[in-house]
Symmetry: D2
Subunit: 342 residues, 4 copies
């Protein structure tokens, strides 16, 4: 049976990437595509790389246009998903690429996003311990943020195995597409090419509580996270450097074992051979996360580096992976571990 799929926010980067992946999926039929201010336009004018859908015309984003599909992907600005999601029947799979349903703690929601907390849905990171089972057959799924995905996967095995202190530092360099397609002066090509910058420094970025939630869940007790995002001159990709003090007595071999065990059977997380370090180019367009880990003995600190395509595994790839789980399909359908390089 072929599932019918609607995509809300089809003119944006997340929506466009969902469509790119669905076009190669084989098990779905692409139904209604909607947009906000771009409603009424041809998709070909907005997403010229999606040639097979060029003649599709975007509908308004409403409950009515989205109704009647087996799956609805929401690629909407933060805060707009809740109203729509609540009006869509429970038999429809709704997969939200936004932040509305990611955080369990209303206080953290309030502190970082403001406004009323809409609640929380099953969190779409199947690689977390026990999480895959919660996603099979789910009807509501919150896709993780891009930084939390790569940051969490970079250090989770060490946290789960109790090898590090619960005091994690993340510095993550991201391409610009994570900031979306809305035109803002500091995101102009002239401003970002040849330029690296820091933003949201000091724990103020909204993805901070999400990483805390993930790692605390893995540890079973609170984990502190200091998170610094950087903007670097590329369209796609995040490289996260994640560090934590090693507990006394822990040896480098134990660290490597923990990672090997954690990821050996994961289809999309790949621990690189010793000595090879990740680069974002390797995962462009792919659903893979490439990870490497070492111990800096001079400072007794674990240093892990992981890369992800923020739009693919960091957003739309995870969304499709979750859809597969929700629909009972093979988890990897329509997804690949092959990047576009150079």
């Amino acid at each position: 049976m072929t599932a019918s799929v609607a995509v809300a926010g089809a003119s944006g980067y997340a929506g466009g990437e969902v469509l790119r992946l669905l076009l190669g999926h084989g098990g779905v039929e692409i139904g209604t595509l909607t947009a906000g201010s771009n409603a009424g336009e041809r998709l070909g004018a907005l997403q010229p790389h999606l040639l097979p859908l060029a003649d599709r015309v975007l509908a308004d984003t409403t409950v009515e246009t989205l109704a009647g599909h087996d799956v609805v992907f929401l690629g909407l600005p933060h805060g707009q998903s809740a109203a729509i999601a609540q009006a869509i029947g429970d038999d429809t799979v709704v997969i939200d690429c936004g932040a509305d349903f990611r955080l369990d703690d209303p206080g953290e929601w309030q502190a970082f996003y403001g406004g009323e907390h809409a609640g929380s849905w099953p969190y779409g990171l199947p690689e977390l311990p026990g999480q895959r089972e919660l996603l099979r057959g789910a009807r509501r799924i919150a896709v993780p943020g891009c930084y939390p995905t790569v940051s969490t996967l970079a250090i989770a095995p060490a946290v789960a195995a109790g090898l590090v202190e619960p005091d994690v530092t993340v510095v993550a360099a991201s391409g610009t597409s994570g900031a979306g397609k809305a035109a803002k002066p500091h995101l102009l090509g002239s401003e970002v090419m040849g330029n690296a910058s820091a933003y949201g420094v000091g724990g103020t970025h909204r993805h901070t509580p999400e990483i805390v939630q993930n790692l605390s869940g893995v540890a079973g007790s609170p984990v502190k996270v200091g998170f610094t995002p950087l903007l670097v001159p590329m369209s796609r990709g995040i490289l996260a450097t994640v560090q934590a003090p090693l507990l006394d007595g822990v040896a480098a071999a134990q660290v490597r074992d923990a990672y090997t065990t954690a990821y050996d059977s994961e289809p999309f997380v790949h621990l690189l051979p010793d000595g090879q370090w990740p680069q974002t180019q390797s995962v462009l367009g792919s659903n893979a996360v490439q990870v490497q880990v070492t111990v800096d003995e001079r400072v007794r600190r674990l240093v892990a580096v992981a890369v992800v395509d923020n739009l693919a595994k960091g957003t739309a790839g995870a969304a499709v992976q979750c859809m597969n789980l929700a629909l009972g399909l093979d988890e990897a359908t329509g997804l690949s571990t092959i990047g576009l390089a150079p």
Copy 2:
């Protein structure tokens, strides 16, 4: 039946892209992978984006290692294909991504490449009039150069329809991957980022006679071509601006008709709607060529712009497309018209 395929030059950009496409093909089995100075290394260390092949070890490029496959792709430096190709049996499909067998005219070969002319093979641009039939079932195929592919397709309909003078000007901006993976100072990131340059100016670039050959073939009489290649700061993609004086009395509508007719049923060449201009991002990783054409009435000149991914449709995609024709498969197997954007 699944065809077995060997790739010579698997550590280079052309070879890597052939492998990326073959991994998604479904109808082939990837056999021996060979290299020159990288023989003996893991593919994962050289092409870390090709995760499913990471543990393959590269063999030496010899007739022996390549023998016994149904298809052999050659991604070798110019001048090295002939000796190997001659030693491979006639029942094997040999697809050469290099220049050795592209030119019909020994004098042009001598003038632009030097050394002895190895001969010419069926030319792998199925979109040329009559060319597709020559490629079906062929056992030797010369993959076109990247600049000739995009330049030829940009103006061929007007040349074929006799709408322009046989005096064509091409200015084509290319990413750096067309120059290959051999390390040269002027190709360093520090030299190419934030920098645009011209090279091979004045008709000296080796792709000039190939464009002449293609367009003269289409016209049925000699066509002059002035070709200027530019290097611009991106890894992949070529944008070609191709111009020719319009013949007296020819109207813009005739031009558009000629293009529509020529490309309406082509699976990989897409004429954009009036007013929309091509950008290379739209075809990254894709086998599509996006084309637009207009008439500059003030100077009575046809101006066409076309984009291609130099490694995909410009090299490896064309190679796979030709393999499909050679093997009698659907021409589009394993190829897509969807780009990776942004």
Copy 3:
């Protein structure tokens, strides 16, 4: 005596570059800085690279705030200069970086910009034959467009010497800063990195009539110009490829002689040694134009390539050069021929 200088549009790219150059000039005092929607803000928040002016606060752009300076630079959106310029006294030097006063022909203004033609001022390209004298002591100067500067200088010697047909083709690849600092989706970093595109194809770009005006002036008779601008992934710089059919009997040596003669004593236009081709990186931040020229004998066409920093010699550097002429200073004061590379 130190001239006092005001800059209108100090938060934009042209205004910022004027300030960068004035800070190293030595003979001026930087007075009032104005802006539109950014009025009231610290310059340091908008132009953080101009540290010595970080604490300056932007005034509104009005006749009153600009009055009382010896020199006023206008870096305003097209169409806004005329009203202000008319209200500023004739003893003040007004240098307009916008297009309002560049075109002599009201019909061309109407066709390409629309609205009423404000008139024309002395055209700030001192390298045109006879033009330098018109600029010495001038009180109103129209700074040329960036594309016209580099395109004109690339071919003017051949046009002036009567070596080519009056049928010029320009294809010019530009960085994104020429499009200004106003946020538009197609100028986002995610859209321009890894991407080359064409725009304004078919003679519709507003700089077309300006190139025609320049070359026709040099020739003393009408010259046709076909102009195609490209956008490539870099912040600054234009590389123009300019071609024209060579007249019968003209030899390559004559071409080189014409360029040598034309530019030998020019402080800012540099003909490269035979065989060396220009790259934009060489002129970043500099007032130099680097030029090379050759003859493609197979098509009997002159091919010239020239590079300019669109914000420096292409806009603000020319503005300062013109100010120097207007004030009777050494033309090169505060300007350099040294680029920032790599």
Copy 4:
């Protein structure tokens, strides 16, 4: 009096940047320029951005060609400076842009560079407490590494004031020019554009002991440093994120006070206004370091971010600054705090 200056390694990035700055210095005469394999070539072919020196021919790098100048800058591969420096008379100022004389501890030299330790020279970071006095009139100066410069200045005020634990973490994103001009495959444009990567992870990068030396000197007791360098797609610039746990009871205001006090009278280190974060574009071509600092109260960690142009203040700018001190000139002669942006 005008000092005569020779530059060894004039074809490389450090040497080229020294020349760019000396051309605007005013107080020096540029004498002999030398190179290794490029000896005998015109500088214009290798450094086309340095137009005023285009016709200079490079000499061999020998004691004889360098002798007889007041100042000699060495921009040589690591390990080649010692032999030359020892043969140059003590009345000549020798400024080494390489690493040979940076480290005091022979054991650290041996561990990170191998081979015999050449000794240590006055360390050319005048902004370190007490360091400026050591450089005035010095005849031998070791220019700091680019990463150590920006990393040290980012956190030194907090270390000096005893506000943080002696446990510093540096993650620094660098452009590619820091890796030099020698052609290596992983530095090709095709490999670095659209790509972020980590290297030298786990404390293995050679700049690690230099940062340790600097901060331990500032603290007066050992400081641990974990250093992770990243390569990001830009030619110039480093953005360093430097963190350390805040000591109990230390308030954010104390941190800010410490930075204000430390840098208020420094000509080249600029603490940004509260809330404004550094970006590398602001310091391109400039000798400025822009710094910001905050406290992440959730994790009680100081987070500082600083940017530098690795070739300017990170190498050649520091070299010229040190020359000024050595010669008794104004420290800022020929240097600016103005960046080239956008």
